[in-house]
């Protein structure tokens, strides 16, 4: 019905694009690329795997469970009761030097910091030091947003409420003398957490900011009194708090507790000798079949011990090499009838 009448020609443009003649690279999985490629990848992986394994083997790790499940273990009495600040201690002996820098971790297992509601149960505005959220915490903190008397909880939410509150001191006994091993609690949290993400309200003294709020139910002390020894290490930028708030991805995790301060006798790490860890046992885990442990570890360029990575690299590397041989055989037998 509608006849197209056009004087000008309707000829489509003759460009490489419209005519689908764009210059193009057309890769093909030719034997000349794939087989050497596999060999190279395989060799590279084997190389990396060996390096990783060697490095990993050189890393020292010491793990000590102190949950106190079994009756014989030192903390069994604390784990049975619900006494606050229950004390117990663990002993261990180092026969050789534990190469520094040494990191002191606490570990929890079967603990679901990655549960969705748990992870969401915090108020980022509040933690960013926004005072308006002190009085009215986000509903995401529920049921830890207000206490029974409808007072706002600061910091609100499950994560903060469930903060790990065991404390440890480490003593080194050598030749009968007992020395306190200096532990460094600075800089154990992420730089961005400490400097950007968490912030105390700019109110001095800090205590005043918390007027009209209550401390989390499980906490013994309010947030502004977390570290009595260091006033700057209080409130939301308390290092232990920050470490706790960075929730773990998996139910078995460890978190950095302290660094062994590399000074004096401990410059090279932990010297050989007998050590005692004095534990203030507050954190109950047996109710949900959890476990607690203490881990000492040192690091290499690639971080802590990681056997899996090295082995995986070796396996994959060798598989690549094997595959390349298989492919070579197949290729020799059934190659393209081309180059004759």
């Amino acid at each position: 019905m509608v006849k197209q009448e056009s004087e000008s020609t309707n000829r489509p443009d003759n460009t490489a694009f419209t005519q689908q003649r764009l210059p193009a690279w057309q890769p093909i999985l030719s034997a000349g690329i794939v087989i050497p490629g596999f060999v190279l990848i395989g060799l590279a992986f084997i190389g990396i795997g060996v390096a990783l394994l060697v490095t990993s083997r050189s890393i020292q790790v010491l793990e000590l469970d102190y949950t106190g499940d079994s009756n014989g273990s030192p903390c069994s009495s604390c784990s049975q009761s619900v006494i606050a600040n229950c004390k117990c201690s663990l002993n261990f002996t180092l026969t050789t030097l534990f190469q520094g820098p040494v990191f002191f971790y606490y570990g929890l297992s079967n603990y679901f910091q990655n549960y969705r509601r748990y992870g969401a149960s915090k108020d980022d505005n509040q933690l960013y030091g926004d005072l308006s959220y002190f009085t009215s915490p986000s509903s995401s903190c529920s049921p830890y947003d207000y206490d029974s008397s409808k007072k706002p909880i600061v910091p609100c939410g499950s994560i903060a409420n469930s903060m790990f509150n065991d404390t440890f001191t480490l003593t080194w006994t050598v030749n009968g003398t007992t020395n306190n091993v200096p532990l460094d609690g600075k800089g154990i949290a992420w730089w961005t957490d400490y400097n950007i993400k968490y912030r105390n309200p700019s109110v001095t003294p800090l205590k005043n900011a918390f007027n009209g709020t209550v401390k989390p139910i499980n906490w013994a002390k309010p947030a502004y009194e977390l570290d009595a020894s260091d006033p700057s290490n209080n409130g939301f930028v308390n290092q232990d708090f920050l470490v706790w708030m960075r929730r773990a991805a998996l139910p078995n995790f460890r978190k950095l507790y302290r660094r062994i301060d590399a000074s004096g006798d401990y410059q090279k790490g932990l010297p050989a000798g007998n050590y005692t860890i004095d534990i203030t046992y507050n954190y109950p885990v047996r109710a949900f079949n959890g476990a607690k442990k203490i881990v000492f570890s040192n690091v290499s360029w690639m971080g802590g011990s990681n056997e899996f990575l090295g082995i995986a690299y070796l396996v994959i590397g060798s598989l690549c090499v094997v595959m390349s041989v298989v492919m070579l055989i197949v290729y020799a037998k059934f190659k393209f009838p081309d180059e004759e």
Partner: protein, 1362 residues
């Protein structure tokens, strides 16, 4: 849509010139509206429509779920951003579409027409025309609405219309007004006309109308014969007046063009099924995780409450599990990302543009480019198995040209040098001032003969100028316009005109011609009209000298039987010529005359008059009378008319059938014409094993014929298979010894009639061609064709016979259905759709093809001469049939490939992405904790990974376009649905799940105990999320790198850009700046930096990538080596060649493209049997119309009394004849062989006596070159000949000839060309060779650069010819 509809009409009452009266009924006005929205309704209506899409509603549902805080595991924006994007893209597309509809509506609505208002003619826009108006139409105007013809300037209220837009028939039709109104004449009378029409309500039946006109207390019944329908064009009529009965949407045209059925591709349907499965899968996953959650909450969570209290509404683990289920539904919904649908649309749109832009589908003559009118079907173009084609205008140009003739044993019209590129065209103007300047003829011998005054030649052209039913119109002196009923007749009369025998004018009793400059008036004594049975027409004229002569032209089969015995010699020579012509695919006619004495005439005239007056069996009596006088005629000669094929049709059909596409021709034409075209476009070939003709008139006979055809097929294929072994040696010899073979055949043939078939049968059976293997599918070997006519088809389409018909027809290589109605066309298509579950494509140009275009999966419209109705109904349109091969084999194939690769990758990607959450569920208490940052989830599908896969979906090519035309077998994976099906889908899914496992467990294993180099543990949630996300992005990017086979600059930009954007966006989202603005939105501050600086993280990512990709790489390499696909091989050889920098020394692709020149078309078909047919496409009855004088102007009507003899009965006669166009005796008449299976051609014979009376052609040996075109052998030959593609041609050449010898297929050809036959000889079989051996072309031309014997010469000649 929202317009209030009046209740359906029971009947329609229209009073002329009375708008007030008619307005009571609220009939639709003539304003048409195809648009859907206006500015105000657009948003609500469009949104309403969009939310009717299941996918959109689903995402809306998800959005609502996410607003419930207890369930919401993701932020609301993860869903709303993609949803908004999708909705707005679709809305923009709909708006543009509608804008164009508005525009075209406006254009139509604003056309001008002349309306009679209050006694005067006024110009009105179409949209303002009302029911009951009287409008005036002028010549060549479109009819504005459905009109009742009141009067016209022609006598008797006649007018001519062309209904091409409506039904696709280009021949003119006659309409006549009711006699009382035809006298009204001028506007003044019409203005006072106040008749009232009562008629049926609007409907879509084009050929039916019933109503009554009440005027002056009298009733006149109205039929379709009185109606002018909207969309018709007035022709050869100065002006006419009509009363508007139906307007606008009520017109039959608009009622017919109802909303097009929304077509979905099979991939679409598969996709929908898969999406449903995925939903099922999603629910399963949700269930598993919910059960897990219940267990966890019961076992662990309840104990863990001191640290994580249950939410207040959640008071038990079961409720928690219930919520968890919905939460998981939300986070796992990305397995079916909303971007899937958008991406698919975008890719299809891109492909459509590529079709629109393709210069090689642009026809410069008609200045039209191909157009993808729907953007949703592209990939289906790569899966077509059946093509249903119209004939006229699609395969042929519907232009007839007088091409050759044989006069008194002398043949004219052959080109002196067939290889001469531009033969000299004869110039008639100095010799004959009345010549038609458009007429082309190349042989000057004929003109010489006329000039010399050869009496036979003169008589020949005199016959052509007298014996016809053409009307002439002489606007001014010498400016003649012939109005021919059929283009054939027009061509013949025009030929006579140019050779000096000019038909000037006629009256019912006279014919005036100008013979060699001298005006002669013959008195026309009788026209012995044409009909299907007679296949001839005659005139009896008395020349000025008083001699009475009968001139007859007709099908040679009938005419040669009625010759005087003394013609034996001329007849045999003419017969040879006829064979030659037919072999060239020309439509032949034999011409003869007979002198009648006055007595003879008187006697016959008496008997004729008697027969004519008979009331019963008038037809039969007349036929008998005609038969009586058409005897003992003297042969004058024969004509050959070329029904010009569209360019490149045979080549296209050859290529398409090599691509295993079955082509069915469905035409309204007569059987003979259809079969003729079938031969000339190589659908039917002489080396076909057998051509069956189904022409039964009863259910039983059709069933029997079908059954017999099947039995024959099985029998023949069995004998073929059986004797193949020992026959190998035996059959080849006679092939070389062509002459002996031919003579033997001819002997058998002259027996004629049914004996011919048997004779040939005996000859044929011991010499079966070496068809390599039986067709496994139907267990039928050999090439069969079936020709079925409309009557039989009607029976065959009945429910109980369907299956039989389909199984018979589908075993045939070619199927031709003739005399089919538009409805039957659609039924056939539906049948195949239903029975074979195959993708069908219908191609046609006329409105009669609309039904099949609409019902086929893909409708293609040829934007040709026959209006644009077909184009409007079609999904794709272009102007040349030959573009079909490019549309299917290049665009369709690519689209399919791209879409499949896209879908595979897309599903893979999303499973890899989403299933990680599932695994994580087992470690996070089934709490619906996402693994990734929510921004990552939002952006992953729409930013990070959308463009590379889109680029692949739009630009990817496995082999270049000319390769896919050279190797039509590359099309097969699409037909077999190999690239994306349920199996492939599961493979993709499996790969995706595997990837997700790796992506979760590798970081899990590595990070659980890892620490940063400063001692901080790495196993915190954010580090884990960033590591996994980065690994995911890298793995899927590497995968797309592997999947992309064609790296254009876009692919590079998109792939690297997406990777880059991932890192940039991630760093931005994890930056301090954003966090400072929205501290509670960007929890991940600093994670990117802190994580990605760790070498362990990178080692983890590298490890995960390797574990994901290495197996894929190895698998693909091995597959490529062990089980290469044809496309791989083609691609490989291509690349190897490129690498060696040897320019391909061949004219790639062009061979198929546009060489359908005159010479090729004419010469390419040599080797056929004679398929003469009385090629008149016109209806009978015009002879009567002429002699009655009905259609002549009163002024020129000298013999008024003559007219009264037949009075007004002629129209009735015409109609009656139309309904009985194929009387029962047809089969007996037209095919001498026993009714149904009229042909029993021996496999190697050249002849196929579809029309009976077949005789051997003198040129025999060529056809043996390609007796076997069984597609089954192609894969073998391809793989075997592929080495030949390597540049060193010598070895392959010999290999090929070795192969040729072994298969026995190529040998004749090769040896022939070695023998250095004439180039012409080669050309003759070229077409068939091309068909049979596409792989060969490559080798041959490749070889042409070297000096290897054998194929080299072929190649050279091939090049020459092109």
């Amino acid at each position: 849509m929202f317009r209030k509809r009046p209740p359906p009409e029971e009947e329609r009452r229209v009073r002329a010139n009375d708008r007030e009266y008619n307005e009571k009924f609220q009939y639709a006005s003539n304003c048409i509206m195809t648009s859907k929205y206006n500015i105000i309704t657009f948003l609500p209506v469009n949104l309403f429509e969009q939310f009717q899409e299941v996918a959109n509603t689903y995402f809306l549902f998800l959005l609502i779920l996410q607003l419930i805080p207890q369930i919401s595991s993701l932020s609301w924006f993860t869903t709303i951003v993609p949803l908004a994007l999708v909705l707005s893209i679709t809305a923009v597309k709909d708006a543009t579409d509608d804008y164009f509809r508005h525009k075209s509506d406006n254009q139509v609505n604003n056309r001008q027409s002349q309306v009679l208002i209050r006694g005067s003619l006024q110009n009105e826009k179409w949209m303002n025309v009302r029911v009951g108006d009287i409008i005036k139409l002028e010549n060549n105007q479109f009819v504005a609405a459905d009109l009742l013809l009141l009067s016209s300037t022609e006598p008797h209220g006649l007018c001519y219309i062309e209904t091409a837009e409506l039904d696709g028939e280009t021949n003119m039709k006659v309409r006549q007004s009711v006699s009382v109104t035809s006298e009204l004449g001028d506007p003044n009378n019409l203005a006072s006309f106040d008749g009232e029409v009562v008629c049926e309500p609007p409907n879509n039946k084009l050929d039916r109308f019933s109503g009554t006109l009440y005027w002056r207390e009298k009733k006149y019944s109205l039929t379709n014969q009185n109606m002018l329908l909207r969309g018709c064009v007035l022709r050869n009529t100065e002006a006419c007046y009509g009363l508007v009965i139906f307007a606008g949407p009520d017109t039959k045209l608009m009622q017919n063009s109802g909303r097009t059925k929304f077509k979905r591709t099979s991939i679409d349907r598969l996709m929908n099924t898969l999406v449903l499965w995925i939903f099922g899968f999603l629910v399963c996953m949700g269930m598993i995780l919910a059960v897990g959650n219940a267990g966890w909450e019961k076992e662990v969570g309840s104990l863990f409450q001191s640290y994580l209290a249950w939410d207040t509404p959640v008071n038990n683990f079961l409720f928690s599990a219930f919520l968890s289920f919905w939460s998981y539904v939300i986070i796992l919904n990305t397995v079916v990302p909303i971007s899937l649908y958008v991406s698919v649309e975008v890719i299809r749109l891109g492909h459509s543009y590529f079709i629109n832009w393709d210069q090689q589908m642009f026809c410069s003559q008609c200045n039209t480019a191909a157009e993808a009118r729907t953007t949703t079907l592209n990939e289906e173009l790569g899966q077509v198995e059946y093509i249903f084609s119209d004939k006229t205008g699609t395969l042929t140009q519907n232009i007839m040209t007088f091409n050759k003739c044989s006069i008194n044993g002398q043949s004219y019209g052959d080109l002196t040098d067939p290889l001469e590129t531009q033969p000299k065209r004869l110039d008639f103007s100095p010799f004959n001032p009345l010549a038609d300047p458009d007429f082309c003829f190349y042989d000057d011998k004929l003109l010489e003969s006329v000039k010399v005054g050869d009496s036979c030649t003169h008589e020949f052209f005199r016959l052509l100028s007298l014996c016809h039913t053409v009307m002439s119109e002489e606007k001014s002196e010498g400016e003649l316009v012939y109005k021919a009923q059929s283009p054939d007749e027009g061509a013949l009369v025009t030929a006579a005109r140019n050779f000096g025998f000019v038909f000037r004018s006629r009256t019912p009793g006279t014919i005036t011609t100008t013979e060699m400059g001298r005006t002669v008036t013959y008195s026309l004594l009788a026209i012995l009209d044409f009909n299907n049975i007679r296949k001839r027409m005659s005139v009896i004229v008395r020349n000025p000298e008083g001699r009475i002569r009968l001139y007859c032209k007709g099908a040679d089969t009938v005419l040669l039987e009625r010759l005087h015995p003394c013609n034996q010699e001329v007849m045999s020579i003419t017969s040879d010529h006829l064979n030659e012509y037919a072999a060239d695919g020309l439509r032949t006619l034999a011409l003869a005359y007979r002198d009648l004495s006055e007595d003879e005439w008187e006697a016959w005239s008496e008997s004729h008059r008697f027969a004519d007056k008979a009331t019963d069996c008038r037809e039969d009596r007349l036929a008998a009378a005609y038969e009586e006088i058409e005897q003992n005629m003297m042969l004058l000669g024969a004509t050959a008319i070329e029904d010009k094929l569209q360019e490149g049709v045979p080549e296209t059909i050859a290529v398409l059938s090599l691509a295993n596409i079955k082509i069915w021709v469905l035409t309204g034409d007569k059987q003979e014409t259809a079969v003729n075209i079938g031969y000339s476009c190589k659908m039917l070939t002489d080396d076909m094993t057998e051509v069956f003709i189904i022409s039964g008139h009863t259910v039983q006979s059709v069933r029997q014929e079908l059954r017999r055809a099947r039995e024959r097929m099985i029998e023949l294929s069995r004998t073929r298979d059986g004797v193949k072994e020992e026959g190998m040696q035996g059959w080849r010899e006679p092939c070389f010894n062509g002459n002996g073979f031919k003579e033997g055949q001819e002997g058998g043939d002259t027996a004629g009639g049914s004996g011919g078939g048997v004779g040939k049968q005996l000859h044929g059976s011991p010499l079966p061609p070496p068809l390599p293997l039986s067709n496994l599918m139907d267990n039928i070997s050999g090439e069969f064709a079936i020709v079925i006519n409309g009557h039989s088809l009607a029976h065959a389409l009945e429910a109980d016979m369907e299956a039989e018909f389909v199984s018979t027809a589908c075993a045939c290589k070619a199927v031709i259905c003739c005399r089919v109605t538009p409805l039957q066309k659609a039924q056939v298509v539906e049948l195949i759709k239903k029975r074979k579950k195959a993708v069908t494509l219908a191609i046609g140009d006329g409105a009669n093809d609309i039904s099949m275009i609409k019902s086929a999966h893909i409708g293609v419209g040829i934007s040709g001469q026959e209006g644009i109705q077909a184009v409007l109904a079609s999904d794709y349109s272009f102007s040349q049939f030959r573009f079909l091969q490019r549309l299917l084999l290049v665009h369709g194939r690519w689209s399919y490939l791209r879409m499949c690769r896209f879908l595979c990758y897309f599903f893979y990607k999303n499973f890899a992405f989403t299933m990680v959450h599932f695994w994580f569920g087992f470690f996070c208490g089934f709490s619906a904790q996402t693994v990734y940052d929510q921004y990552f989830i939002t952006l992953f599908n729409i930013v990070y990974t959308s463009l590379p896969v889109l680029a692949m979906g739009i630009f990817d090519q496995d082999v270049p376009d000319h390769r896919s035309l050279e190797y039509p077998k590359l099309y097969e994976p699409g037909q077999l649905n190999l690239l994306f099906n349920k199996r492939e889908f599961f493979i993709c899914i499996a790969q995706g799940i595997y990837t997700s496992v790796v992506l979760f467990f590798v970081p899990y294993a590595v990070l659980s105990n890892a620490t940063q180099s400063n001692g901080v543990p790495l196993a915190d949630y954010q580090t884990f999320a960033v590591t996994t996300a980065t690994a995911l992005v890298i793995v899927v990017s590497v995968q797309i790198v592997l999947d992309t086979g064609f790296w254009t600059v876009f692919n590079h930009v998109f792939v690297w850009g997406s990777l880059g954007s991932y890192f940039i966006i991630m760093f931005a989202l994890h930056s301090q700046t954003l966090f400072r603005i929205f501290p509670n939105q960007f929890h991940f501050v600093g994670s990117a930096q802190s994580t990605l600086l760790q070498p362990v993280v990178w080692l983890t990512i590298a490890l995960a990538t390797a574990i994901c990709i290495v197996p894929v790489l190895a698998f693909r390499f091995l597959k490529l080596d062990l089980k290469p696909q044809l496309s791989d091989t083609v691609r490989y050889t291509q690349l190897v060649r490129q690498k060696r920098r040897k320019p391909p020394g061949r004219n790639t692709g062009s061979a198929w493209r546009g060489t359908g020149s005159v010479s090729e078309g004419r010469l390419g078909a040599r080797g056929g049997s004679r398929r003469s047919g009385y090629a008149f496409a016109h209806q009978e009855g015009f002879g009567e119309l002429i002699t009655s004088g009905k259609n002549m102007r009163l002024s020129s009507l000298a013999l008024a009394s003559f007219a009264s003899r037949h009075s007004s009965s002629w129209i009735d006669t015409l109609r009656r004849k139309k309904h009985t166009h194929t009387p029962p005796s047809t089969s007996g008449e037209c095919s001498p062989a026993p009714s149904f299976i009229s042909v029993s051609v021996p496999p190697l014979s050249n002849s196929s006596s579809i029309l009976g009376g077949s005789q051997e052609t003198p040129i025999e040996e060529e056809t043996v070159a390609a007796p076997a075109q069984n597609t089954q052998m192609i894969p073998a030959s391809v793989t075997q000949t592929l080495p030949a593609l390597a540049p060193d041609a010598e070895a392959p050449a010999s290999q090929v000839s070795a192969q040729a010898t072994s298969s026995g297929v190529l040998t004749p050809t090769a040896s022939k060309s070695q023998g250095g036959d004439s180039p012409g000889g080669w050309t003759l079989s070229l077409g068939t060779v091309q068909e049979a051996l596409f792989g060969w072309k490559v080798i041959a031309s490749r070889a042409s650069s070297s000096n290897s014997p054998g194929p080299t010469s072929i190649a050279k000649e091939t090049n020459q010819i092109k």
